[in-house]
Point group: C2
Chain length 156, copies 2
């Protein structure tokens, strides 16, 4: 059975607002979507418990907190067993400088985005990664020059 749309246009309007600014008051949201605060609150509550909203976070300026260098690391691996994959996911999840880790299809097996202070710090991370993770066949580091766009707002 094709489940009915979980989100109507009002829900999506609320989400568009909250994706841009999680600190908006219910009164402001309500005015924007044409409701009173109470039904807005109930809708947000529902989307939170449904797992549609996964969290509210504070974003920082990477340069201003001393992490101006972003590196994308493409990994090719030798061992494709379920055990290796699980262990790798755990290892990488525990590395705080790895902000994103994607398992990919195609020529690259994993793609990481890493935030570090400078090149020596990246080298230290690189050594730690290659020492900790066994069976890496190829590691390609690509360095970001400029963050042209960095959004967390999905187009809904």
């Amino acid at each position: 059975m094709p489940s009915p749309p979980e989100l109507d246009s009002t829900d999506r309007a609320i989400l568009r607002l909250l994706q841009k600014d999680a600190a908006l008051s219910l009164a402001a949201i309500a005015a924007e979507v044409g409701l009173t605060p109470t039904p807005c609150w109930k809708r947000i509550r529902r989307m939170e418990t449904a797992g549609i909203i996964t969290g509210r976070v504070t974003l920082l300026d990477p340069a201003k907190v001393g992490l101006p260098l972003s590196v994308f690391v493409a990994l090719e691996i030798g061992d494709h067993s379920a055990g290796w994959i699980e262990a790798f996911a755990k290892t990488v999840s525990e590395m705080p400088e790895v902000l994103e880790c994607w398992r990919m299809g195609g020529d690259v097996d994993y793609l990481l985005r890493v935030a570090v202070e400078d090149m020596p710090a990246y080298d230290a991370f690189y050594r730690r990664l290659t020492a900790t993770v066994p069976g890496l066949r190829n590691v390609t580091s690509r360095f970001a020059m400029e963050r042209v766009k960095a959004s967390t707002a999905l187009p809904i």
Copy 2:
């Protein structure tokens, strides 16, 4: 002159908490860092006006809002003039399905992360991108199978 550290250990503790959960009350933050709400509020206020805190956003589950496909697009360009670069940044910033766009050093000129509904939607995006942006020498699409880790919390 080596500017004094803008952030002391209390500031960083507050930022670590707020990066994980922007909805924490001042009372909860204050208890965690060992202060009363008022100085916490002043510190947060200061970091907001200083641009260290760039915003508070709501995160959604991409699959649950109908955007389960993430694609990384590597671009190589022919024209490296300042005008082209500026126009490209503007074009890409206005495309809502492009969540991230990085200007890179090395073999790849730009790396994009794109969120779409499915493969036909990606194809439509691809056609629009290549039709809109002139002078692309090479476009390589890599498809994500699994989001192993996706964090917005910088390691401070």
